[in-house]
Symmetry: C2
Subunit: 477 residues, 2 copies
Amino acid sequence: MSKTITRQSEDFSRWYTDVVQKAELADYSPVKGCMVICPYGYSIWESIQRELDGRIKATGCRNAYFPLFIPESFINKEKSHLEGFSPECAVVTHAGGEELQEKLVVRPTSETIIYYMFSKWVKSYRDLPLLINQWANVVRWEMRTRLFLRTSEFLWQEGHTAHATYEEAEARTLQMLDEYASFAENFLAIPVIKGVKSDHERFAGAHRTYTIEALMRDKKCLQAGTSHNLGQNFSRPFEITFLDNEGKTQYAWQTSWGVSTRLIGALVMVHGDDRGLILPPAVAPIQVVMVPIWKNDGQKEEIIRMLGGLTTDIKNAGLRVEQDLRENVTPGFKFNDWEMRGVPLRVECGPKDLEEKTVVLCRRDTGTKEKIPLADLTGKCVELMPVIQNSLLERARLFLKENITEVNNKEELAAVLEDKGGLVSAHWCHGHSCEDIIKQETKATLRCIPCDAPTEMGSCVICGQPSEKRVLFARSY
Amino acid sequence: MSKTITRQSEDFSRWYTDVVQKAELADYSPVKGCMVICPYGYSIWESIQRELDGRIKATGCRNAYFPLFIPESFINKEKSHLEGFSPECAVVTHAGGEELQEKLVVRPTSETIIYYMFSKWVKSYRDLPLLINQWANVVRWEMRTRLFLRTSEFLWQEGHTAHATYEEAEARTLQMLDEYASFAENFLAIPVIKGVKSDHERFAGAHRTYTIEALMRDKKCLQAGTSHNLGQNFSRPFEITFLDNEGKTQYAWQTSWGVSTRLIGALVMVHGDDRGLILPPAVAPIQVVMVPIWKNDGQKEEIIRMLGGLTTDIKNAGLRVEQDLRENVTPGFKFNDWEMRGVPLRVECGPKDLEEKTVVLCRRDTGTKEKIPLADLTGKCVELMPVIQNSLLERARLFLKENITEVNNKEELAAVLEDKGGLVSAHWCHGHSCEDIIKQETKATLRCIPCDAPTEMGSCVICGQPSEKRVLFARSY
């Protein structure tokens, strides 16, 4: 099977689909809009889960599991939630051979079913804060789907909390936003911009939605995670009340926040190149791959013995290492295959290396090859892990920085979006109609009002009304 | 909140429900037949997942994820699979605001959707064996439900493999049965009987179903895991074919196997007593709990400081330990609470202990209390973990052994089932009608034909036809 893929410069979208399929991250399923996450792609998800789960628990949350099905009447309880999600819902009408009395929605997100339970569990201020996280599948029926980025079913974690005060809820919303940003940068080597969504773009039912936005290699933006301050928007219809320490009944203040398998799509599009995926070492299921090269059986045995020893050393040093001992493919095929899968380091070992007691070490991120003494291999691999991790982050940071352009009027905004792409930083009046005009004319949406945007007087690039901050627009996934 | 529960001897079924709710393992949800797995229950599931996932991967399987939805036509492809599952299916008829052209079934198990993908992936004998595992939620619409034991939605892992030969598939089926048995005994301290299901009781679509059966404290049996040799029953309708090494097209041979959140129900019912849950240390999310006892604030500070140090020591020794520093409940309440939750060891420390540099160490399984010097605490905790684990297993083994009764005719069989309960070992002719008569008259089902049953000539307790092996009947969950 040929592993040739479309070049990024030729057609980024086809390049993406090629990489996802040829690196065996995911495959199309026979169910419209649903994907199959293949073992290699799933092992990346397992890396993400393991790390993020630890970080979420470290903030005091505990995991739980709530039903897949939500009674239709629950979705209807919060008006904007209903409007946002009902067009995307998959609905169970029959079960156990009979028509159901009340239809069940397959969860598109779990606020309503979880908060029904919260209302049973929360009685007193002593029960607060209630900090829950769930790892689950959710379903949002999509017309135009794309592997990992937009699928009818996807996997995610959704955190749900209840607090005694607005301030505490806002602090938790920001805390989780920071966790997501730190996770994206330090684990996935994906730099992100933290910001607030406009009223129009916020989560259906939220008081305020924060987002982390990342820039892909095609200069389109991807929303990589969100954290919502829900105010009392759900605690009121679901009657989550508590007795405060003065014995007064109060409604709880809430937050929810989530990231999904979409992050795998971001990894592909932030780091990948024309040879395929490039995985940061922290998240890579395989960090080092060992490829033997032999011409005859005598060599083969010796080389495999040597590689076996090296593999054990590297494993004992705490790295995730594999040997590729396949017999029915050539070394060249193996090189391409592991490059496609984005493994950070490849070790080649042939007859000449055997003689000279060396190996060839190849970096996936830079493509550099280096002949090194056997004895130095393990140390070198360990040493390179943070170097590669950091180098990928720095490269992505530079790319992000170079692709944020300040514009001061509508024409500049349109020109930059059309010619250069990336994010444009522009003044905006906070009006939905101006946001909408930009979307209509440039296909760019308001990504966020950055958390760190300095106060700067200016005027909206559309209507000219005064503005105090620049916000970011971009075309996006 | 009172934590009093029904006694086992009074009403075992109510005792079970009381423990599950009061230990906060699970709660009823507003969706018929679906439960909420509460944080403490979910942390037990996480222990189970972590351990079992490692064991499954060690056998060469890789995790993947397949769609929640299965086109209705897929279920129809294997006749007995359809007959077995269609009465229990939840069906999505509408999505994205429109009626679907083809209805989608919420997976009751994933053979059909996974094997559709296998047929795309398997081409040559080099692609075999294909060894896949999935952690997922599944839905089987149940009329009479019970927390963990029988719920409309549950969590599980389902392994699916394809092989080149029948022998290899049979070997894998038995390998996974052995894995499950070893996991149940060594991790959950639940002794099990390995055996084959009768034709009538086997999985819908299987060639042969193996089971592990466990005995609960009320002497009813629980099927705790199954491993199926599917033969070519699915590879034929789903056209999973491969070119063998002679270039001939062959149908693959397959297996599937799974265990579920039902195991948590088994843990409760195998080890629990009138004070609540008793968790084997290996699976316990909290292995040691530290409870301070103070009469005034001066003491309190000193005791908490001391407990903090001890907690760190115990944690550094590799145990999972927590301190209970709640201020609004009494020490007595805490003792009951942790006993209810089945934590293996409790450490009490009061003013007198502070003076004498001692603590009191209490074992949940035996109820014994021991005063020990501070300096010995960590070592003692580490030492007791395998002791308690083993003691629970031995107790359960003895209980199982004492409750298998050989019977030689129908009257004995009925009398033992009625008076003593447990498993009866009886000769049976392999006829479904005799199996059915026993079920009608005694409510006992054929649990399995034990793998280690010796050849012994006898005659069927119902019809008198010759039989070569004793099989096991019991009332069950």
